[in-house]
């Protein structure tokens, strides 16, 4: 609960998935500095997003984590400034330049996400475009640093790889599911919202099975089975909420 309220959940998950991708992509050496900078950047983005949300849409009723950020706004702004400075110093002086360059794709997705946040209508309940940007900014953020560490990898091939698309789709579904469960969509009623999510989960499950069967040729591939487990858990949550 405290991790969620202080925006520390996403940085920890990013770190965890960084090592999953490092293992799956056979990256032999993960720069410890990357394991420090990535969670800091994720925390920065999540905290700024929550402060922007509460500033832009003052009339909306926000969940506890947003209210916590608003209540301790000054402390968060101070921490954000310190972390931003630390990230800039570490990235420009100590991190491999190839890692910084490869981070441009998630940075572009993050900029797109904030643009949509600024220009979205306050009354709109679920923004699929915004969630798509957020999901892939997170997924690419996890993968991009690894591509920068291993120069034998092609950044476009890796960021558009099957495993990255599956993980990105899982992140998009995860973010959209929470929005739909809490707020509902403007376009569909509650039953159709549930079916929309179920359909996305079925598509993700099918992709995983197809990739395992036709491409990896291993039906016990740990990566795709892990994504399938997440898909099943999301399905169960969606049905039982």
């Amino acid at each position: 609960m405290y991790l969620n309220v202080m925006s520390l959940d996403a940085p920890l998950l990013a770190l965890l998935w960084l090592y999953v991708f490092a293992d799956y992509w056979d990256v032999s050496y993960v720069d410890p500095l990357l394991a420090v900078v990535l969670p800091l950047v994720v925390w920065l983005i999540y905290s700024v997003d929550r402060l922007v949300d509460t500033s832009l849409h003052k009339e909306c009723e926000f969940p506890i984590r947003h209210r916590f950020h608003q209540r301790h706004k000054k402390i968060f702004i101070g921490c954000i400034a310190v972390v931003a400075l630390l990230v800039a110093v570490l990235s420009l002086n100590f991190l491999q330049w190839s890692v910084v360059q490869s981070a441009m794709a998630p940075v572009a997705a993050t900029v797109g996400f904030f643009m949509l946040s600024f220009f979205s209508e306050p009354g709109k309940r679920v923004s699929y475009a915004k969630n798509l940007m957020a999901g892939f900014a997170f997924a690419w953020g996890v993968g991009a640093g690894l591509v920068g560490l291993d120069l034998s990898m092609n950044i476009f091939a890796k960021l558009l790889s099957r495993e990255m698309l599956c993980f990105g789709l899982l992140c998009v579904i995860n973010i959209t599911a929470v929005d739909l469960w809490v707020k509902g969509s403007s376009e569909l009623d509650a039953d159709l919202d549930e079916w929309a999510l179920t359909l996305a989960l079925v598509v993700l499950g099918l992709f995983c099975m197809l990739f395992m069967g036709l491409k990896v040729r291993r039906m016990d591939d740990p990566f795709y089975v892990a994504i399938l487990i997440a898909t099943a858990l999301m399905y169960m949550l969606n049905r039982s909420r």
Partner: protein
């Protein structure tokens, strides 16, 4: 379920998924090993 509980549950899904990767990887090591 409350909104905040649902958010934590969604986080836990990604956590369990990553943990299951490591577990499955150790149970079924890739052929190269």
């Amino acid at each position: 379920m409350t909104a905040d509980f649902l958010r934590i549950a969604a986080d836990l899904v990604l956590l369990v998924s990553a943990a299951s990767y490591w577990l499955l990887r150790d149970l079924n090591p890739p052929a190269k090993f």
